[in-house]
Symmetry: C2
Subunit: 173 residues, 2 copies
DNA sequence: CTTTTTGCAAACAATTTGCAAAAAA
DNA sequence: TTTTTTGCAAATTGTTTGCAAAAAG
């Protein structure tokens, strides 16, 4: 179930303006890489994109695909799912529960199941499969990070200009 | 906010019976590793567990911690969050949306936001931070895998006895 | 003793980085 | 020609594995 023509055109329009605004070059490979992701609804991994791009451009390298995908993500043209620089984390709470996740420091807090209302599963979802359970992730900024941000806004009065590179240490675990 | 004494005791009781039933030995390091995870609510990574266990047992090795944590997970004593053997995946759908995820083959299907009811955020969550948005993950078995399972049940009439080891290829991407 | 578990070191998979060459502007 | 982007190869991170020695029953 690929995105329809209309959606695709919209995506390319965004691609044009975003790249223009950011002042980055629309190279052969960037175009091609974007085309592959934009015309898929399978949430491909970097490798999967790579494999497909290679058909048309046998000389691309995997690391260009990675770099490019992250560039697009930073431009807001793509979103990611799955791990970024995350490690597996273990939880002795084996009751089904939901999570509050701080997008800034990765702090995770368990939310007991009965604190959130149950999400009703619409019939349309049944087309895709049988739902076994529902996990809600509330994403936000934890108290700690809120405080830090207030301070840094006061002193620097500037939001972080570049997305965070891989950091050494410092993360909640 | 560590688990209270009561919860802790319950967890250790489960530890006792689960290990006994599985016939695995309650070694010094297993005890210690379990103690660390069970008495934390910070969803520690393997490394974080390792660091803490090392305080009391300077000779443990990181790989024992990993092995042990997975053993506990297989016994149902722990749950994991975050990546397991997953790769990052990219999505050109930048509208906020939810997901249906097949727990068997990792197939992911987007669910438009207005198909699911909005989850009401209870005030109690505000103690942990400011919620920016909500992501619902419906986990289940996709149509494809359902069909496969039917077949394999007919022919083998046996559920997979061991949890899946790292597989080469074969995953939806 | 026999079987399980450990620690070590080496292997691995996914991803990132440094750098010189190639391609834009 | 100056700046950006690429491809390559090497590095890094998180995690897993083979194996001989050590510990448990």
């Amino acid at each position: 179930m690929k995105p329809d023509e209309k959606t695709l055109q919209k995506r390319f329009k965004r691609f044009q303006s975003a790249t223009q605004q950011a002042g980055i070059k629309r190279t052969h490979q960037r175009l091609e890489i974007f085309r592959v992701v934009a015309s898929s609804s399978e949430h491909p991994s970097a490798e999967a994109v790579y494999r497909e791009v290679k058909q048309k451009m046998p000389t691309v390298s995997l690391d260009t695909v990675y770099r490019t995908l992250w560039t697009f993500t930073e431009l807001g043209l793509l979103n990611t799912l799955g791990p970024r620089q995350e490690k597996v984390r273990f939880d002795a709470n084996t009751e089904r529960h939901h999570h509050f996740v701080c997008v800034s420091c990765r702090f995770v807090h368990d939310i007991e199941r009965d604190v959130l209302q149950d999400v009703k599963i619409p019939k349309s979802v049944q087309n895709w499969g049988a739902v076994i359970h529902t996990h809600v992730e509330l994403r936000g900024i934890c108290m700690n990070c809120q405080r830090k941000q207030e301070k840094s806004v006061k002193s620097h009065s500037r939001l972080s200009p570049t997305p965070p590179k891989r950091k050494k240490g410092l993360n909640n675990e």
